[in-house]
């Protein structure tokens, strides 16, 4: 479902972030992306939903060739991908319900379906009782749950998460990881960049390690592999 062939990314300032990556990720996989800071993990992830464009090489997501994708078609791609960030990216002036519904409103979903879909995912992430609260009234873990709810409300085939537990304490991180496991169990592909050694070592999923813009290790049931 996601395939990269000889993908290369050079930023205008001359930095080469990705230096020839080949990879295949199948539907329903759970993949950890690990590696030191500045290794190119974020760029690698951002290219999947076309926040960054590859300088050369081919990226195919859900059958769409991103190097040939017109700007006009990018929204179509993004509707099939849910994205979760380290800093949650919630809108402070919208409450929990509105933050999640927002993702459906902007893609002009039928309003009669919005309410049910939003309540369903908020139930899944365990926030059904806090729909009227605003982001600043929630804990970090709860905010991340809202952001996860928003990423899956559209039933995407893949959820991409960039350091989703980076701002959370270990216990909350485990709750969030269990939530991702649950979403993955329903058939959604999960691709997660993380520095959380403990989680990677305990989950025993596919691990892709990136260093200096290259894949240095790709193993199923792998471990974090870095010290500290």
């Amino acid at each position: 479902m996601i395939e990269m062939k000889n993908v290369y990314k050079k930023y205008p300032n001359g930095v080469v972030a990705v230096n020839g990556i080949n990879i295949k990720i199948k539907q329903g996989e759970f993949v950890y992306i690990v590696g030191p800071s500045g290794a190119g993990k974020s760029t690698f992830i951002k290219m999947m939903y076309r926040e960054e464009k590859a300088t050369s090489g081919e990226i195919i997501v859900n059958g769409m060739n991103l190097s040939k994708l017109k700007n006009k078609e990018v929204p179509h791609l993004r509707r099939q991908i849910g994205v979760v960030f380290q800093d949650f990216k919630l809108l402070p002036r919208l409450n929990v319900y509105e933050n999640v519904a927002f993702a459906l409103e902007v893609i002009e979903e039928d309003p009669s379906k919005i309410r049910k879909r939003v309540m369903d995912v908020l139930d899944l992430v365990g926030l059904k009782k806090k729909v009227r609260m605003f982001p600043d009234e929630l804990s970090g873990g709860e905010q991340q749950r809202v952001s996860i709810a928003r990423s899956i409300v559209n039933v995407p085939k893949v959820v991409i998460a960039d350091e989703p537990t980076g701002n959370l304490d270990p216990e909350t991180s485990w709750d969030i990881m269990n939530l991702f496991e649950e979403i993955n169990a329903r058939g959604t592909t999960i691709i997660m960049a993380t520095h959380n050694r403990e989680i990677v070592n305990n989950m025993r999923r596919r691990v892709i390690a990136i260093e200096g813009g290259l894949i240095v290790r790709d193993e199923r049931g792998g471990d974090y592999g870095y010290e500290g």
């Binding site: 902007v106 893609i107 002009e108």
Partner: protein, 294 residues
């Protein structure tokens, strides 16, 4: 775009105008001042143009026919002038008719000349384009059987020059003012957008189209332009009607008149409104552009 979505955009844009309180006020007042200047300028310009046209249309060429010309030669001359491409109209006036005119203007003393009329038969010619008067006059002068061709040489060139310069200066000033207003609106929208950068980013990441992001801001620009045009419309309308009512009776019988206030001022109002809306839309369109590259 679905009707429901458009409704959402309208609500969003109106909310945003309210939420931006002081910024809205600042840019609406800036637009108000600019549109007021533009409106006043337009009224002056259009009246000046009317005066210019009136003056221009009053310019005619007087062709004195040679005494030697017989009836047949006169007829040929008239036909030749009528056939010229630049000629709008031509009027024949016999020397008796000319003399009667002078008698009327200067008194019965002149009727003594009726026994031996020293005047000549005359043709009054109007050029299609008054600015071409001199050229047409020169052409007529080359024809046979003309004694002299008069058109106020020197004076009308100066008049036309003056009118042309003032027209161009007015247009340049109006354009400069409009650009200023556009810049002001675009700045306000830029601040609104910067404040909502995060929202735009999330919208784009969950798959909103560029138009979906753009339209609320464009509508907001439209509201700013619309609000900014209200006071200029009121001031220009009231002021011009007052001035017109005061001046029009005094100008009766003059060769130039002010534009009648009734249809004219509504046209100006409509133009101010349109300009407000257009600069609003354009200003915000320009400032959203670079925020969409996510």
């Amino acid at each position: 775009m679905k009707a429901r979505t458009l409704g959402r955009h309208f609500r969003e844009s109106i909310k945003s105008v309210g939420r931006n309180g002081w910024m809205t006020f600042a840019s609406v007042s800036a637009v108000t001042v600019t549109l007021l200047l533009v409106g006043v300028f337009m009224v002056i310009m259009m009246n000046l143009n009317k005066v210019a046209n009136d003056l221009e249309n009053d310019v005619e060429i007087k062709v004195l026919i040679d005494l030697k010309a017989d009836e047949k030669a006169e007829a040929t001359l008239q036909q030749q002038i009528k056939d010229m491409p630049g000629v709008e109209s031509m009027k024949y006036s016999s020397k008796e008719h000319e003399l009667n005119g002078l008698v009327k203007d200067f008194g019965e003393d002149l009727s003594l000349f009726k026994q031996s009329n020293p005047l000549r038969n005359v043709l009054y010619v109007k050029a299609k384009n008054p600015q071409q008067t001199a050229k047409v006059a020169k052409q007529i002068d080359t024809l046979d059987n003309t004694y002299e061709v008069l058109y106020g040489k020197g004076k009308i060139e100066k008049l036309f020059n003056f009118l042309n310069i003032s027209r161009n200066v007015g247009i340049v000033l109006i354009i400069a003012l409009l650009l200023t207003a556009m810049f002001l609106i675009s700045n306000t929208i830029k601040i609104t957008i910067t404040a909502r950068r995060k929202e735009i980013e999330i919208m784009k990441l969950v798959g909103a189209t560029n138009w979906f992001v753009r339209i609320p801001f464009i509508l907001e620009g439209m509201w700013l332009g619309l609000l900014g045009s209200i006071i200029p419309i009121l001031i220009v309308s009231i002021l011009y009607t007052q001035i017109y009512n005061a001046l029009a009776p005094k100008l009766q019988g003059e060769i130039f008149q002010l534009l009648n206030s009734k249809p004219f001022i509504f046209e100006v109002d409509l133009l101010i409104l349109l300009m407000g809306v257009l600069i609003g839309i354009w200003g915000s369109f320009m400032s959203v552009r670079k925020f969409l590259k996510i």
